[in-house]
């Protein structure tokens, strides 16, 4: 390999006056930054700014700062471009990235504002008056048939397909066991159960110990079919077919063999140490009618549990979604281009797909135009960073949102984006026992529960100010959104008016 000439991205500054040489930084750093020779010596080039040492230094003696190395200024040839070229000219490979796109594309959520009531209709106090977030995901009929029995009681004659009941319209996005640690899976499941929502297993199967959380689990089936068997399909409340992922639409996955230890081997049902390759497409789906075949194969195997189909938001997302609904899916899961990943080629992560805001608006519109919006629920994902993003997505038409990165941040993730290294210092995106032990699932579940509790409170506060007391009266109510600084075309696609109109 050629010599690495790239300047380090960060500088680790140690205040030797304060440092009492306890070496906690050495123990905590999983990237090998520190060595000890009389005193702690950092290797700046290895630092990823995961902030683990900073957080665990008892003397607050460590500071990680961006390397001020003087690159000659150019707004075109940014340091990023230069560093990437150096790396690639040294190593000859594709750049790899973890987490979601980090380029400054416009974030449309930040250009939308919510409405509130003044005089002509009252706001509602969410702390004192009822405020309902309960959401059912799944296929709904166009209408109901109800008969009145002889004794005057009402009885429904309509069978409604199985639904997923959520007390909060926020679910945990698919992140596989293998990409993330078992403790991460446990924390997500415990929190989902506590809050009354669901977590999606991701494509790596479901660990035996976690089958007990079935009421709060959606199991995923992806192209690699890891750990997929009839019992697994029936383990949760629904099955999600993963077609694509916002961070890497049209791209397969690769979990390196070194991550496949005993437990993952058992869960994924592949030999220890073998690479886990997810093909780019499902090789039983080359066309939409094939998707229908798989959906119904799963329904037959599960006595008709709801089937969700997860796709990356790409250019023709609206007609793809329409096809998915017509193929029999009960849920369409849309993942915007800013969605997270454990590993993806940087060029794909940063340059392929479309924003979730536009994809969601287009899909919701299309399904309505075709009169089939009730036939499937929409889950929106791809960088939901706050309850405000969630609320705006729901106003655009989402039945629920999914959070992946936000959940991991709650568990301690500092968004250092080194997930693909398997060295996650916070014990999240790693399988190394000494690292995974750092995440206490109970404490993690508490943090996640707190986060959803807080977001639910915030959503209720927003609904109250909007004067509605049930989430379905806000869902798809784009009249309650306005755009600021958005061009006419974008406003048109979002189906919202500019602020002031």
């Amino acid at each position: 390999m050629l010599k690495n000439t790239t300047p380090p991205e960060f500088k680790v500054k140690i205040d030797y006056q304060r440092c009492r040489r306890c070496k906690r930084c050495l123990q905590n750093c999983s990237f090998g930054v520190y060595s000890f020779a009389d005193r702690v010596v950092p290797d700046h080039s290895k630092c990823v700014a995961c902030q683990r040492c900073v957080g665990y230094c008892p003397e607050s003696a460590i500071e990680v700062i961006p390397n001020p190395a003087a690159f000659k200024y150019s707004s075109n040839w940014t340091p990023e471009h230069r560093k990437n070229i150096w790396k690639q000219s040294e190593q000859g490979g594709m750049l790899l990235a973890g987490m979601g796109c980090d380029l400054p594309y416009p974030i449309l959520f930040d250009s939308m504002l919510l409405d509130a009531c003044q005089v002509t209709n009252p706001s509602i106090d969410p702390l004192r008056e009822p405020m309902e977030l309960r959401t059912y995901l799944g296929r709904k009929p166009d209408s109901l048939q109800v008969e009145t029995t002889k004794d005057g009681k009402l009885k429904s004659k309509t069978h409604i397909e199985q639904q997923i009941k959520l007390e909060v319209p926020i679910i945990f996005a698919p992140m596989s066991y293998g990409a993330v640690s078992l403790n991460t899976h446990k924390a997500l499941m415990m929190a989902a159960k506590e809050v009354g929502t669901v977590m999606n297993t991701g494509e790596g199967g479901l660990h035996k110990d976690l089958y007990a959380y079935g009421d709060n689990i959606i199991v995923q089936v992806a192209s690699g079919r890891f750990g997929v068997h009839a019992e697994y399909l029936n383990a949760g409340v629904a099955v999600d077919i993963k077609i694509g992922q916002g961070a890497k639409p049209g791209i397969g996955g690769h979990l390196p063999g070194e991550k496949i230890g005993m437990e993952i081997s058992k869960t994924r049902m592949i030999p220890i140490g073998s690479d886990a390759l997810s093909p780019a497409p499902h090789h039983d789906i080359y066309s939409i009618e094939d998707l229908r075949q798989l959906i119904y194969a799963i329904k037959e195997a599960t006595n008709y549990k709801p089937v969700s189909v997860k796709i990356a938001a790409v250019h023709n997302v609206a007609s793809i979604a329409s096809g998915i609904v017509r193929a029999g899916a009960d849920i369409v899961y849309l993942d915007g281009f800013r969605g997270g990943t454990g590993a993806a080629p940087t060029v794909i992560r940063n340059h392929v797909g479309i924003p979730i805001e536009l994809a969601l608006a287009a899909v919701d519109d299309r399904l309505r135009q075709e009169g089939i919006r009730n036939q499937a629920s929409i889950i929106a994902a791809g960088s939901i960073r706050s309850s405000a993003d969630a609320a705006k997505a729901i106003a655009l038409g989402a039945d629920a949102v999914a959070i992946g990165t936000a959940a991991l941040v709650a568990l301690g993730c500092r968004v250092c984006q080194m997930c693909y290294t398997g060295k996650c210092a916070w014990g999240i995106c790693t399988q190394k026992p000494e690292l995974t032990a750092r995440l206490d699932p109970e404490e993690g579940a508490e943090r996640l529960t707190n986060l959803l509790r807080a977001w639910a409170l915030e959503i209720k506060e927003m609904l109250g100010s909007l004067g509605v007391n049930a989430i379905e009266s806000f869902r798809g109510s784009r009249e309650r959104l306005r755009g600021v600084g958005l061009d006419k075309q974008t406003l048109d696609i979002l189906g919202i008016k500019p602020a002031g109109r």
Binding site: D125, L127, R128, E129, P130, A454, L457
Partner: protein, 249 residues
């Protein structure tokens, strides 16, 4: 000197003229005003300070006794919405039922209603210095009874209530952070706001309740014993700060 008792015909008189006549009569020294033919005129007694008595046989419009500060109003009929809005002192006696948002933000004085009361009764009743407001309703009540209640007495009697009708609605005492609600009868747990607890009455409560109910019974010719023939429960806030862990800093 003008006479102490006056009669005003209110038939189809617009509220602005009617209330002007009332104010003029008071300025002229009237101590008792009888209004005949009232129907729907708003703001009767609104903002009046004087110790005058106003009696009417019809149904007054909304906001009767709003901002009132002393007079006694006797309505020998039903009363609409917004009765006793932000009232400071005085008394309203209603021989029929009363509508929604009764005694909103009331700071002092009394509202005595013989019949049912609507939704959102006694919202944010409070007290200040020597002023402690009281609302007593003889019949049933709707949802949000005593919402945000901060102080004062809110009493529901459920007289003549049949078993198939709920005595009170949902969200009773939601957001209550002071004062006391007395209910003659039972309330189910699901009807209560998160902030209130059900208690038995103690001697202090009986001492407080007795003169209030005596006055109420006197207004309507009821017998106190009959009112007291059924046990009361008491609702009080279980915490003065029910909203812990609401914010992150």
């Amino acid at each position: 000197m003008s006479k102490q008792k006056v009669k005003i015909k209110a038939d189809a008189v617009y509220y602005r003229q009617l209330n002007e006549q009332i104010r003029k009569s008071i300025a002229d020294g009237a101590t008792e005003i009888e209004l005949t033919g009232v129907n729907g005129q708003r703001y009767i007694g609104d903002g009046l300070h004087d110790r005058v008595k106003i009696i009417m046989d019809g149904v007054p419009g909304n906001d009767v006794a709003a901002f009132m500060n002393g007079p006694t109003i006797v309505i020998k009929n039903n009363s609409q919405d917004g009765t006793g809005n932000t009232m400071n002192d005085g008394k309203v006696v209603i021989h029929g039922h009363a509508g929604d948002v009764l005694g909103y933000g009331m700071r002092g004085g009394k509202l005595h209603i013989l019949g049912d009361v609507g939704y959102r009764v006694g919202i944010h009743m409070k007290s200040y210095k020597d002023k402690v407001p009281t609302i007593i309703a003889g019949g049933k009540a709707g949802d949000f009874f005593g919402e945000y209640m901060a102080c004062g007495n809110l009493i529901l009697l459920g007289l003549n209530n049949t078993a198939d009708e709920p005595l009170i609605g949902n969200y009773t005492g939601t957001g209550m952070h002071g004062g006391v609600i007395y209910i003659r009868g039972e309330v189910e747990a699901h009807q209560l706001g998160a902030e209130v607890g059900v208690k038995e009455l103690d001697a202090e409560d009986h001492k407080r309740l007795k003169p209030l109910l005596e006055e109420y019974c006197a207004d309507f010719g009821l017998e106190l014993d009959k009112v007291m023939d059924k046990p009361f429960i008491k609702l009080i806030p279980i915490s003065h700060r029910p909203y812990g862990r609401l914010y992150a800093y």
